[in-house]
Symmetry: D4
Subunit: 253 residues, 8 copies
């Protein structure tokens, strides 16, 4: 509820257009609908600028479709992450405009706003081929949120020239998402090369003492390059979402 | 070295204005000066957009002053973090325009660019009073880098109304730095309230099973609110630097 | 054995109604029956106020039924947690009054005492939909132990207004069980809103650096809100049991 | 703000006794005072039932006295934990009724309500002599909050008969706080003996693989006895506060 | 090689019965046979007093049978732990006197020496039913090594009287093996009750913060009762073997 | 209380020599004295075979002397570990027969029983010079408890021949205590060489990834040699005490 | 690009044989080919001395074959680790000279250079039979890279004489790879016996507190023997590769 | 004892020049001297190729001097690491040719062999200035052991061009020691650039989630570049010693 809405309500009270009991009720009422198994947060777009995202893990296809329906009733686009093929099949029955991204297992319902052609892109960079699913989760999320994305894959530090060959593209980016497992050194190296903010995503790719991504996570948190921040292990969605927030801000003013 | 400089060099070679041996030399030479104990990275400003920052821990006052002198020779402002009072006293002998921030132990040499009056600020939010030194490290860093900063301190989730009382200010911010120790829940709560990107800084404030900041770090990495990224424990500088990068981008276009 | 029983026994010795050998025997005998594979603790109800609960993991349906039979011989109600559908099917052959709760996988044999209609309830609060099985384990346990339960589900801190909309219900509760995974911040926020004691249950819901519930566990242990205690990861039973003990005390005096 | 206050405010608006602008302001204003370095949460007593407690670590004596003054202005009693002797000396200059507990380093300003003579007590039990400071922090906190406390110290499981000798006292307690370091087994043993809820406090007492209290913490979280909850390592205050909440509830109805 | 054998060899050299080259060879030759995939340590019985034990995990039934054959060629009894039913079936083809213990998955080939009837036994004590496989691994190992074993199962500290009912048996034991998962408090309680040495075996039984046995392991290492030592998680074999060494010593003198 | 004492008591009740009230009282009374700050466990010698040991850390010299006095009133020898020079000075004022071991910081009050001349000794073996204080804590404890001790110091595996040179002594020992920090490999090597039971003591000697003894602790718990058990990091006392229990048993039969 | 190539390029520019635009382009071009899903690093052999190795985990047989084809186009031998039988079957269709090593799951395409007959070998030593797959990964890697390999398997420290029997072979080796799980003590013992550099490979063989290889890893990092270095858990490839680099260096001069 | 010595001994036995008793004695005697507090391993040079190194931590100056004296009696050079200034002062009284390296706190007694002028050097590379003491420990150790050392300091990945500027020097090295704290990414980057074997040394330089070097350690263990091995945190000595072994081998053949 904005200050303006509050003011209007109070004016209605003063004018007698609204009973005091109703006003108390409305001031307390908070804007969500109750489906029984999940509360849909329909005002989140107003509050945070994007529609609610459905994290599908642990939800049945029916639940996912039902939640999606409520969100779609008010929004032009809905994003469902960690989504199974079954849920996608179920959604196709209910929605006309549903798209499926297999590598990152993301379903998009509705038509995302297209990014302005000449806007500075978000670069998504990976160390190895095995980091692709996480990288694509980041890339598709950012695109769905309206950002332009430039993919630069398989440029890990073991062959530094592969990365240096993309230096110009990196310099052009408005923000860079670095996705790396094993020792995760790529984030520091990219952070030292560019002036754009870097969002680092540790992945659980690796073996032995990588401890399911802990190694890359610690590497990235301790990066000697300033301008590097970190999200949770394998959290491509979080990185893509953050980058989209960051980029959007740039167009606003 | 930019593409233009490279082109010019090659033209000079063709024109015979530059010998091949000299050209080889110059193509290999990389732009840093060698002080013996530390290599000053004078081109960093070109490459990342900001002057090099001096991390003072483990350096003598004399070393700090000497490094600062080299940086100042080319830049209008230099930042020294984790800086002792002794180093500040030493610097005062050498520089006219040195300022000292006691709480975050930051020294600034030179005059930082002032932030545009009406630009959207970076909000720096803390959970408790003990988080202040880290918060101020973030705030002063961002200000020195040219951002406007809004401080909102001591609004931890144990008294939620204190935070909610600042909701408007939070909504106005271009980016929000949340500084919290103990369980670090503030980052998630702020992340759910606003549409701005949130940079979370776990602090080592706490006792027992806070394990020197590990608890807050894990909390923030696992935040259920999208749009939250994390820096190292107590790394106020890193958060301030990142926020300044983020904000600056906004003005560029 | 109470002081009164002891006194009576000694009187019988003095009166010659009980031989010394028998008295030695009875003083040493401790009240449990031996099934070979498990010792049933039939006096536990006297000692701790509730019948023994069967933790089914790692026990065969036959063993579960046999243990239940012994307990039922002396008690009006028996609770079996982490119970498989097979064990339930087996129990239905042996008992008339067996009920099955699918989500938390709890079997109840016998008729639990109904909670007094107007007693202050135990509120069970969850952050997300995935926390439901643990929450229901807590809720059904508390109900079986004679507490009234109020369920408030899916009110995580990413959408704070969802929680605030239930503030009145929370204030009314005699005790609150907060069930949350990921970063577990909900416990601190609830703890700051209410005057009732809060029992926090970290769940293993999450990914990456949630480390199977470690993140939420540390968050809850470090809660900046006073009045919050913690049980083991996913231990809904423990929280429900504790809350029932807490509530029951209130009626006693 | 209660529903009644809200109603009254709206009535004033309708009656024209309050301007709309002022009403908006008051609806937004949240009840705290700003001291610059810390926000005093004067309404906490209404919200959680107890005055705010001052956690002294990292605050100067002057700050502590100033915060205490604000709290005392509205409350009859204030508690300051982890308080230095210096802060106590400073407080003696400003308050007449300040008391000092040396072992737990707690300062109490004002006169705590006395516990009803015949109410069931909170038992505070320790494994060893070294656990005393934490145990006293729990005991004094609970007493200041109005609970009767029974101390049972140095009854660790290495000499089980010492504990069994206190069985009657334990059975009488309304709640039991178990304070133990090293392997922390006492919590499970007490939990199996009694029907009262048990709040376990792991302490950092121990050496080697006790890892500063981690061993006792894990022991207590994994207690095989139902009815045991846990607070942070060395958090005597948290246990005492929780026990007081639990006991008070019993008197309310 | 014993001193006597060495002396004899040297005498043979002096007497010319043994060439120098052969003597060098024999002094270097160490007593093991090479099967290609594993070196059988046939002298271990002389060196450590017991035949080599086959740890079956990761070996094929054929390999196990082959190794067993070599050991049996020189020893009256062979023990195979973590042994699959398949390996047992294969062994039955090759040996007449093979026995199979299903719960601990141990195979014994040959006839173990029987323990002297009136020797003081090794007591094997468990906290719960789920600890049985580990306990039986300990018990069968000790029995095969020639110890008398007394089993006392399911006497965890949540019902202390169950344990106290066995106090006499415990006092009689020459050594006690305590097998417990979850919080593992049983080892400390037993250690405080008896004068016999206690070998504690943490098990991976538990959930949540038991972290696959880490909780019980730390508990046992930090036991406040003197006279308690610890083996690896789930290492029933190690405890039984150690206890047998301990007991055997007693008969030697 | 033994069965005989219990019988006698009951006979006195029957004979009217003891009132029922007194009998109830005596059956409940447990044999410890209360000093206020610590409960002395004077019956422990009966129960576990050795007098109570005073763990001095965190106790004042006065407390130590007072506890020692109570123990000495009933026992011929008392042991105080982790004892400061100050406590020793204080004890000298009160006792005639007090001895001080500087390296392990142990104080012995009274005259320990001397070990039988020809009994098989406990060997105490260390990897390096820095392990000496822990080793001496083990050795002096075992000697005070009546064991003969053989010291074999500085024979770490980096120079294996040093250890092999002592093979005969090792073979002769009734039990072996291996004290080692860093990687702690010595325990496995000794365990493979001998038939005596091995008690391994990890020490906190080391640096970097030894993590204060964690490395040696894990090494010893995972020993590939059977017959090795482990005590807490730096717990020389625990190892010496256990070895003495083990050896004593041997003489009993 | 070597200095000579650079010089030639500049001469071409001066001579007008190369346009400036083309020169800029060539100076920037970095030598890799782009397959879309992976960047083949064809110059790695020049840079590091060996062809790129294909880490097969997470790649499809088709991708593996395609990458191998590109590498083979320029190199005489290619190595594929963690390779499935399916990928091998696929490769057989495309290459004539493909070999398959089942135990370490390595595929070799092309003919490795044979090691000089009398060169000092790399010894590969294992503690137990279960360490074989990792050991063979090391051995086959080193052989493919041109080293002579000597295998010494199943010589763990529990039977020290097995190792000592191979002392001469160990002394002859140019480098030694020690592969061990459980407590990993073998690395220290070998390190103390020989003068050759030792590369230690911890394996995940073990149970309980071996924590998937962590125990052996810490042991090896803390080795008291100088001259021991460590690679990641189960990283046989890394050890073999490093040993080959080390040995090759020896022939170069 | 070599095979030749053994042969000679046996010949003496045959010839009657040596009694059997003496031969037994000599065959058992192992070559070390006993100083009481430490066993000097005077044959280590024969066995491992270098004199024993004195690790000074925890030894008194007198002990250090005494040990050094024994080693010097047989060797031309002795190395003492982690050596205090006091020990150096004490050593100056006893030895003429003692040198002191302040940064790494190493004392060298005697004249190290000089490295051949044109041998390929060991390069020692650091990420930052704070890594110097560890790097110098590596460098001085390698030099004392007879290697030529090339120092390349302060070339961390945050300014990649600083490192690339030294590419030629790196390519020339026979082995490279990379010393880095914080995230330790430098090891991977160097490993990808060169063909020489890389020994990585994690340092405890860093803060927050660097956890005293754990972050850099994990990074280096998980390096995506082949040819990288790791030593313990801050273990400059270990790296230098290993590199010297590696280089020496190269000259041998």
């Amino acid at each position: 509820m904005t200050a303006e809405q509050l003011e209007r309500l109070l004016r209605d009270v003063r004018a007698g257009r609204l009973s005091i009991a109703d006003a108390v009720e409305r001031l307390r009422a908070l804007p969500f609908e109750d489906l029984g198994f999940a509360k849909v947060d329909t005002h989140r777009a107003l509050r945070t600028g994007f529609p609610e995202v459905i994290y599908c893990q642990g939800k049945t296809p029916e639940q996912i479709v039902e939640i999606a329906r409520r969100i779609r009733a008010r929004h032009h686009v809905t994003l469902a992450t960690r989504c199974s093929a079954e849920a996608y099949e179920a959604a196709k029955q209910s929605f006309d405009d549903v798209a499926w991204h297999e590598t990152p297992r993301i379903m998009v319902i509705g038509k995302p706003r297209r990014a302005p052609q000449r806007s500075r892109p978000v670069a998504v960079v990976t160390a190895g081929t095995a980091d692709l699913p996480v990288a694509e989760e980041a890339a598709v999320t950012a695109e769905t949120m309206g950002s332009r994305v430039e993919r630069i894959y398989d440029v890990g530090v073991a062959g530094l020239h592969r990365l240096l060959g993309h230096r110009v593209k990196l310099q052009r980016a408005r923000a860079i998402i670095v996705v790396a497992g094993m020792e995760g050194a790529l984030a520091s190296v990219v952070g030292g090369l560019v002036s754009a903010p870097v969002v680092a995503v540790p992945t659980s790719v690796g073996y032995g003492a990588s401890f399911e991504g802990l190694s890359a996570l610690l590497t990235m948190l301790n990066s000697c390059a300033a301008g590097v921040v970190v999200v949770n292990i394998d959290n491509g969605f979080g990185a893509g979402y953050f980058a989209a927030l960051l980029v959007r801000g740039q167009r606003k003013r």
